[in-house]
Symmetry: C2
Subunit: 122 residues, 2 copies
DNA sequence: CTGAATCCATATGGATACTG
DNA sequence: CAGTATCCATATGGATTCAG
């Protein structure tokens, strides 16, 4: 098996249009209901939210707790194992931040993208 | 502006079907000609190789050196700036490796696809 | 409330042919 | 040799509807 498939496996976890947001929300808020996630991420569709959550659950990053009530209630949270990827997220986040600054340096902030006001590192 | 866009920007760099392989090759070999890369990555098409390289060049990760000769000769290498992402690659690679082991633990090496929600109905 | 199932638009990647 | 251009298959994501 090729070496780079490790990268690809790793990348599959946060890749996709919504996984980063979902992970960020869950890391920040601890435990959230399905509806809360949906409210917190207004642009996501129910299909995508379900689908991405399922993949995260399958990868043991997210825990899914179903309460057999009426009306139904489902809570999602980061698993203990999932918490171990916090540093990966951090590294990615930090590098992404500095890389955006680098791109601004190279191409200027003006015409690069709309809605991206100066993002100063903290 | 949402925080997660930093992730997304970072992920765009290594995401796509071929960027990880290309980066790995260039990091390993230093400088490579177009044809060498193509030989080193047999399954890639020239369109994809060109396209992905262009994106990496645009992101200042890869340097493109054109020799005005006949026949043409173009060499690619990691830029100084690009070398700064080596640790990110390393972190990703390490986590990916351990994550694969974790998945094997959970699902067994032989029957990985069993409960996989993946993105495909039965 | 949560989420499965469809249908559809677009994005991404691949095959092939052509060029300086 | 390195790269474009074109056409095509499939993958991904979105809108909508239905159901426990």
């Amino acid at each position: 098996m090729a070496n780079y498939c490790k990268f690809e496996k790793a990348l599959e976890i946060f890749t996709g249009k919504w996984k980063p947001v979902i992970l960020l929300r869950l890391f920040a808020n601890g435990t959230m209901r399905f509806g809360e996630l949906q409210k917190a991420i207004p642009d996501i569709t129910q299909k995508m939210l379900t689908q991405q959550l399922r993949e995260l659950v399958h990868n043991d990053i997210v825990h899914r707790e179903v309460y057999p009530e009426v009306p139904p209630k489902v809570e999602y949270s980061i698993t203990e194992y999932g918490k171990g990827m916090a540093n990966v997220l951090q590294v990615l986040n930090d590098w992404g931040e500095s890389h955006m600054a680098h791109m601004d340096d190279l191409y200027g902030e003006g015409r690069k993208e709309e809605g991206a006001p100066a993002q100063r590192p903290s």
